[in-house]
Symmetry: C2
Subunit: 222 residues, 2 copies
């Protein structure tokens, strides 16, 4: 199984993690399974962003994808493992859509703005049919202990750490005034999440609100 480990997927470099994994597979059977798992998980992310991870059902997925219920069941073994695969897939997509592109921008304020713009696009686009996958599921699982909750929490912590890190960089570089990076990151994430919900409820100004809040925090120091 090699060892992908779990040290902050959001900070990890290297393009497209599971493509690399698939490239190492020589056995055609395992490759087929890996592809099938990936495709199923990707569709499941859409469903879960709409109905929630808890509302996911194997039968629903089978119907959507024209597969058999038992086929999906054998591929993932158990529903919880399916949910974990869905979380991992959503993490990959988030990495590709939001985090990685922002690395083109220089660290600090510029990268924070890039992250925000990417995030707004990510939340507005029906990439995930139901909006932000994390916002939809963190609340669902916050009172439901288990591996799925842990995985969601881990991603959230990584995301907060990513924002706080850029904020600290911006402070150290003198781009913005001294500030409690963790608290500001907390606020920014809160605004992201609230904007996602506002978007889902038809508030077309949600993106603009995010930009205005961000402007407030990233004002040049004097």
């Amino acid at each position: 199984m090699s060892e992908p480990e779990q040290r902050s997927a959001l900070a990890d470099p290297t393009p497209s993690a599971d493509d690399r994994v698939e490239a190492e597979i020589s056995d055609q059977r395992l490759l087929r399974g890996a592809r099938a798992r990936r495709e199923i998980a990707r569709h499941a992310v859409d469903v879960a962003s709409l109905e929630g991870l808890g509302g996911l059902s194997i039968g629903r997925l089978a119907g959507d994808l024209g597969l058999s219920k038992s086929g999906i069941a054998t591929l993932f073994g158990t529903k919880e493992k399916l949910q974990l695969a869905v979380v991992a897939s959503a993490g990959e997509a988030f990495l590709d859509e939001v985090v990685r592109p922002s690395r083109a921008a220089p660290r600090g304020v510029a990268r924070l703005r890039a992250l925000a713009e990417r995030w707004i696009t990510y939340a507005e686009t029906p990439l995930f049919a139901g909006g932000c996958f994390w916002a939809a599921n963190l609340a669902d699982f916050d009172s439901r202990p288990g591996p799925v909750r842990d995985a969601l929490l881990r991603h959230h912590a990584d995301w907060l750490a990513l924002i706080a890190g850029e904020l600290r960089y911006a402070v150290d570089a003198g781009e913005i005034a001294e500030a409690d990076a963790d608290l500001v990151a907390f606020q920014l994430d809160a605004v992201f999440t609230a904007a996602n919900i506002a978007l889902r409820f038809g508030d077309g100004e949600a993106g603009a609100k995010v930009r205005r809040v961000l402007d407030g925090f990233l004002a040049p120091r004097d």
Copy 2:
């Protein structure tokens, strides 16, 4: 059916709405039904704050309360009506626990602080076993059109309007510097929601974070 109407329950005065309704009932049968409905809905709020409104099941409630499934079904007619009753009950509880007590404080900054303190207690206390009922369910239903979504949205809009109103008062009274009340309300609500999730994930400092953010917004003008 008299006419309770729906003009911003959060702004409405008068103590304890459904007690008043019950007082007007002379028919013992209807009174019994009203009481039963109320008790079921109250327990369902707890369950829904834990598992979500979507995860609510009549059978589960029947088991918890020692009633029959069909008994509950007849009392509410349909599951959607049950969900609406649960939303209404949660609104009443929120009104009693957070909004009404804060009216003891004078309008403006003082009342905002009172609201925040009340909210922190409300989120920390296992009044609702799973934390903030609204935070748990707004995300669930944001992509699920229907009366339940509308009811949740209505409450959320009332809540935002309540905060924004106090902010405007504080600005007009010269307590705080000029600010976009709607945007600040948006941010405060976002922080409340994020703090609720943080609390659910064991972050003991969530309450402190809310206070620090609030302090930032309520700093005296100059």
